[in-house]
Subunit: 290 residues, 2 copies
Amino acid sequence: MNEATQTISDRIQDKLDDLTRAERQLALSILENYPASGLGPLTALAKDANVSVPTVARMVQKLGYKGYPDFQSELREELRAKAKSPIAKHDTWAGAAPSEHLLNRFTTAVIDNIRLTMGQIDPVKFDEACGLIADQSHHLFIIGGRVTHTLAEYFYLHMQVIRPNLTHVQSTSNTWPHYLLNAKKGDVFVIFDVRRYENNTLKLAEMAHARGARIILFTDQWRSPVHHLAEISLSCRIIVPSAWDSATTTMLLIETMISSVQNLNWSETKERMETLEDMFDQTKLFRKFT
Amino acid sequence: MNEATQTISDRIQDKLDDLTRAERQLALSILENYPASGLGPLTALAKDANVSVPTVARMVQKLGYKGYPDFQSELREELRAKAKSPIAKHDTWAGAAPSEHLLNRFTTAVIDNIRLTMGQIDPVKFDEACGLIADQSHHLFIIGGRVTHTLAEYFYLHMQVIRPNLTHVQSTSNTWPHYLLNAKKGDVFVIFDVRRYENNTLKLAEMAHARGARIILFTDQWRSPVHHLAEISLSCRIIVPSAWDSATTTMLLIETMISSVQNLNWSETKERMETLEDMFDQTKLFRKFT
DNA sequence: CCCGTGTTGTGATATTTTTTTCAAAATTTG
DNA sequence: CAAATTTTGAAAAAAATATCACAACACGGG
């Protein structure tokens, strides 16, 4: 059994369970920008991880090193070895896997999707969309499709905390008329529609549009037909090495939007979030995060 | 022109002519295995290069650093920057927006999350997990939490197409006993649990574990307590400039897993997908993608 | 609710590391 | 070739860094 094959990073992760809270916090901080932070002075590392100086000393001993200097010297040794090996310039995301591994191929594709999607987003339109969604004087409807309803729900889940006056329109088209009956001119519809585009969704969009609603559309690079009716269209690239399309980029955009809308409504959101936390505490559904 | 583009290595080479014999000897020794040797103690470096201790101190000052510690700190900074792959160094993803725009800040954070998450994924464990999930001889249970149930559902949605014999366990704990009654030894549970960790989920995991089920866990960098029971844990970094955590990285991992499992079961999946397409065509729920 | 166990941080102490001083060695120059 | 100049290294002084001992604290079990 050769221990040289195991990097210090691996070693830290293996021992993660044997570490205490503060030590784990430190360990994660080291991994955060590995190996640079571990090569600095102990004091700096401690401050960086928000733990006390002796915690660092104790952890490295738990990891099996004689002391912090010993730990550092091993780190340097590892760096030396890595610099010498010819595969040093290997530029993969999952470093432990070869570049042909699906983990790397998929990640590369997604990063590409993100780059291209962001490259063609109009920030003004984006901010405009956030403004519309943040505006509580109009009702907010959120609609997804067969696959995208999960994204719609994720969006809805967060919007619920940020603002009142919103509805998640479920896919079953029977219930639509009820929803639409309540839709007033100026109300905002957030619609998710990626290929293969759904007739249902288009129908609903048409009806909403006819009633004078404003539509914000999340779609793919080929754009759902709904985009003709939409005031703002956000198209995401969704190509990955798979039989299905990727929702990751769309997810990124959704989360950015959630964060942005939350900022616009911050004073109120804060209260709502605190109330929510209290309620969760009371029901003991969650443990406190330590 | 920014001097930050110049590495310390470059800087040493530029100044090589202004250095004295002993200093040059030292400089070349540093470049010999760069940057590891420069990150050790001054004394070791001096001995390594066969020069005296003060020579080192003098040289780094000639190079323009305040002292040896300053020199080291710059070296570490360089290492830090290098650790981020070239593509991750982008700071304006949405080219049309300034770098302080949320679109850019958020995307940068997510890319960082992806990089750090992938950096610590064990591809062997990942493949193992895919294998377990692809194995149709055991029942597959999928469980999410308050927020993560949307991810669980996304996963379930795709797994439905790939394989039979699976269940999406809804959050309401009333129904659990029924599900668990059917769980046999060797059945596979895919559990999503990110902070703030839910007691419900832990309870279910314990019951499942007690019945001899195998658990695959999607969690965050701090790892849900479920991970003690899990055969395979996949932890994603979820930090973004927002009041909430990001699910984007987890989404990426889920999609990669879907793709991988699908490849393992390809011959069968193909049939199932075609059947599904036919059914959708018949119900005219979707328009054909053109 | 208290106790005991285990964890964490503060401050003092010891060690190592860096800087400075100064004289010897090497190099240059007239 | 010798004097001036520069370079170099040994050793001491100064500064920083790491380790240690102990008290405060938090947590889980009785």
